[in-house]
Amino acid sequence: MDLDDTPEQAAHRIRVRAWLKEHKGEAPVIGNPTHPDAITDEAEIISARRAWQGKLAEAGLAGVTWPKEYGGQGLGPIEQVVCNQEIAKAGVPGILDAIGVGMLGPTLIAHGAEEQKSRYLGPMLHGDEVWCQLFSEPAAGSDLAAVQTRARQAEDGSWSLTGQKVWTTNAQFSSYGLLLARTDPEQHKHKGLTMFILPMDAPGVTVRGLRQISGEAEFNEVFLDDVKLDEDAVVGGVGNGWGTALTTLMFERVTIGLGGEGLGYNSVRFAKGIASDEHGRRDSEVRRQLGEISSELLAVRFTGYRTLTALQKGQIPGPEAGLAKVTIVNGAIKAGDLITDVLGPDALDEGSEWAYMISFLPGLKSAGGTEEILRNTIGERVLGLPPEPRLDKGIPFSELRSKEGATA
C-alpha cells in the first residue's frame, strides 16, 4: 500500500512538469482579474482556453488514456491523474472540454463507426470542436431512459428530431452534441432509444442559457424543432442508445473518480474560512462541525485513490463511487452553512469567496442523478436489496404515460 509513483510514473511526471514549466507563460490567465494579462471577456476566455487545450493535447497532457491512433497517449488512468495534478500545481487551466475528452470521446471510441472516430475525435481532443452531452430532459433526469425527444426516420434513411434537452453544460459554444433520442415508442422504455451526433449549428437547434440561484447561467436548455440529420449521424446502431448511454455514464463515474477534489470543496479551504475568525476557530461547537465535515471530505480523497487503484487493475468503478459525490456535496453544503454562521452575512456578499458556492450547491445535489436515486441504485446493486416495484417494465413506452396518469 503506497501513494508513491512507480519509476515509470515518476519519469512521466518529470516530463509533464518540465513541459508545463516551459509553456506555463502561454496559458490564459482567468479568474484572477488583477493580473495584467487577465482575460475577462467570456468569448475571449473560451477561445483562449480552446487554444490552450490544443497545446495540452499536442504535448500529450490531455486524452492521456485515449488510444494513440486517435491522438491519445495510450496510457493508464494514473498517468492522466499525474497530468491533472501537475496542471493544478502549475496553476494553469486544464482542458476546456472535459466532458468531451473525458466522457463523450471515450463513448465514440467504444461505439462509434470508424468514419465517425476519424472525423470527430481529433478536433475534439484539440479543442477545435467542443462537445456537449444532450441526455437530460425536463422529464428525464434520474430516470434518464424516459427521454421523449423523438427521432423519426424518413424513407431515404435521414432523421428528423424534435424535443427539448436541459442541464447542458457548454452548449452555448459547442460544435457538436451527443444526443439520446427515442426512435421507437412502441418498444419498452430502454429499448427504443438511439444515440445521435448533432451539429449544434443545424437548422432548428436553439440554445438558451439557464440561469440559476447565483444569477449565472452554468447550464443551457437546448430546443430541437424538426432538426434534420443524415443516416450516418447514428452512433452504435439504431435501438442501442441505452447501452451507449451507459458507457458515457460509466466514463462519467471514472471522470469523477479521477477528478477527486477537483471541485475545490476541500477541507483545508474550509478550515481557512473558519480560521480567519478569531472566535470561531476556538469555539468547540464550530470545531466539532468543522472536524466532522472535514473528516468526511478527507475520506473522499482516499476513496478516489482506492478508485484509481481499481482502475489501474482494470476494474470499472461501480455505482458506489457515487457515494463520494453525496459526501462531497453534502459536506460542502454543511461547510458553507457553518462558515456563514461564523462569518455572518458578509459570507453571502456577492464578492465573497463563499456566496457562489452556497448558491451552486443546492442544484449540484441533483446533478448526475439525484441523491435519492443514487441511494436506490447503490442499495440495489451494491447491497443487493430488492428493487422498488416498478410500473414501467414490460410495456411499450407509448403506453407508459397513460399508465402514469392512472396511478397518480
Binding site: M1, S294, L298
Partner: protein
C-alpha cells in the same frame, strides 16, 4: 499508487476471521452482561498462536515487523464479532517500546505474548491546549499526565491516575508517558511493582476490559522513545479503535441487509422500501468513508508522519459516528425485536456507546481534526 490489500494482508485478515470464528463471542458477551464474567473466552492464546502480539515489533526482537494498517485489519476482525482480544492495550504499548532502543530487552516476551503490555493512554497537546492530558474517571475535566521523578538509580518513580485504561486488568507491563521536569518521557512499569494499583471496571459493554490505574511512586524504567513516538502511540490507539469500530459496522450492516431482504411487510421485503434502503446506504457511506481513512492513517504513519495525527483522528471521528449510526440503524431495521436482550443488535449498540467515550472519545478526535486543519490553513 496502490491502495489495495496485498495478498499477505488478505491472508492476515482471513486467518484472523478463521481464528476468531472458533469462539462464540456474541453469546459470551450476552452472558457476561448477565454477570457471568467467566463466560468470556480467553482469546490471548489464540492471539499468540496467530502472532498478533508481535505485529508491530521488529523481527529482530521476535515480532512480525508489520505496519499499523496490518494491525488495523486484525482489530477490524475483532470488532466484527466483538472479540475481547487485548490488542488495543498491547499494540500501542509495543509501538512505544519498539521505538525505544533502551527497552530492547523487554520486547521478546511481549512479541510472543508470553507477557502482555497495556498502554497508558495520554493525549498529546493540540493547537489549543499545550499540555499532555489523561481521561478522567468522572466528568469532563481532563487532568494532566502522570508525573515522574528521578529515582537516583537511572530510573524514575511515577505518580498519577489513569482512568479507563484498555486491557489493564491482567497486564504484566504498563507503558505510557509521564512528565519529567515538565517534559514527556516514555515509562515502562511492572504491573506487579509496589505503588501500582489496577482496579478492573465494567461499563455497559462487558466485552471491554478496562482498568483504573493508580500509580504512587511506582518504579519505572525510563524509555528513550522520541516524543513523536509517544504522541504516535496515542494516534495509533485512535486508528486501532477506529478499525475495530468499523469491523463492528460491517457486521451491523450485513445483519441489517440480510434482515431487510427476508422480512416482509405490506406484501414486500422491507429492503425494497426507499426509507429502509436509504438508511442502509447511509451506513455503507459512512463505513466506506471510514475505510478510506484507515488507508490514509495506515499510509501516513510511515509515509507522511506529519499527517498521522490528522489521519488517525479523522478515522476515529468517522468510525465512531459510523458505529453509533450503524448500531442504531440495525435496531431500527429489525424493529422491536432489535431492541430485545436475545438479539445481537444491543451488543453492538452497547459496544458503540462505550467505545465512543474511550481514549479521549470520538469528540476529542474530531476536535483534533479541526485543530490540525486550522494549523494547515494558517501555514498555507
Amino acid at each position: 499508487m496502490n491502495l489495495a490489500l496485498s495478498d499477505e494482508q488478505v491472508f492476515l485478515r482471513e486467518a484472523a476471521r478463521g481464528a476468531l470464528s472458533r469462539f462464540k463471542t456474541l453469546e459470551a458477551a450476552r452472558e457476561a452482561l448477565d454477570g457471568n464474567d467467566s463466560a468470556l473466552p480467553d482469546l490471548w492464546p489464540a492471539a499468540c498462536e496467530a502472532g498478533w502480539p508481535g505485529l508491530l515489533i521488529d523481527e529482530a526482537h521476535g515480532g512480525a515487523g508489520l505496519d499499523a494498517f496490518d494491525a488495523m485489519l486484525v482489530l477490524g476482525e475483532c470488532g466484527r464479532v466483538l472479540a475481547p482480544v487485548a490488542l488495543l492495550g498491547h499494540l500501542p504499548a509495543t509501538a512505544i517500546l519498539n521505538a525505544s532502543p533502551a527497552a530492547a530487552g523487554l520486547l521478546e516476551p511481549l512479541s510472543s505474548g508470553e507477557r502482555r503490555a497495556a498502554y497508558l493512554p495520554t493525549m498529546p497537546p493540540n493547537d489549543l491546549v499545550d499540555g499532555w492530558r489523561v481521561d478522567p474517571a468522572h466528568g469532563s475535566t481532563r487532568p494532566s499526565a502522570a508525573l515522574a521523578k528521578d529515582d537516583g538509580k537511572g530510573g524514575a518513580l511515577v505518580s498519577g491516575a489513569l482512568a479507563f485504561v484498555p486491557d489493564a486488568p491482567g497486564a504484566d507491563l504498563l507503558v505510557g508517558v509521564a512528565l519529567l521536569d515538565g517534559k514527556p518521557v516514555g515509562v515502562a512499569i511492572e504491573a506487579s511493582a509496589s505503588g501500582v494499583s489496577i482496579e478492573a471496571v465494567h461499563r455497559y459493554d462487558a466485552t471491554r476490559s478496562l482498568g483504573h490505574v493508580t500509580l504512587s511512586d511506582a518504579p519505572a524504567t525510563l524509555l528513550d522513545a522520541p516524543e513523536e513516538a509517544l504522541a504516535g502511540a496515542w494516534h495509533l490507539a485512535q486508528a486501532l479503535i477506529a478499525a475495530e469500530s468499523l469491523g463492528s459496522v460491517e457486521t451491523a450492516l450485513e445483519m441489517s441487509v440480510a434482515y431487510a431482504k427476508e422480512r416482509h411487510t405490506f406484501g414486500r421485503a422491507i429492503g425494497s422500501y426507499q426509507a429502509v434502503k436509504h438508511a442502509l446506504t447511509e451506513v455503507l457511506r459512512q463505513l466506506e468513508n471510514g475505510r478510506s481513512l484507515l488507508y490514509y492513517a495506515g499510509w501516513a504513519r510511515e509515509g507522511a508522519p506529519a499527517e498521522f495525527p490528522l489521519a488517525a483522528s479523522a478515522a476515529r471521528s468517522v468510525a465512531g459516528r459510523a458505529l453509533d449510526h450503524g448500531a442504531r440503524t440495525m435496531i431500527s431495521v429489525h424493529g422491536g425485536i432489535g431492541a430485545t436482550w436475545e438479539h445481537d443488535a444491543p451488543l453492538y449498540f452497547r459496544r458503540a456507546q462505550l467505545s465512543r467515550r474511550l481514549l479521549g472519545g470520538t469528540a476529542a478526535a474530531t476536535d483534533r481534526v479541526a485543530g490540525e486543519l486550522i494549523a494547515q490553513a494558517d501555514a498555507a
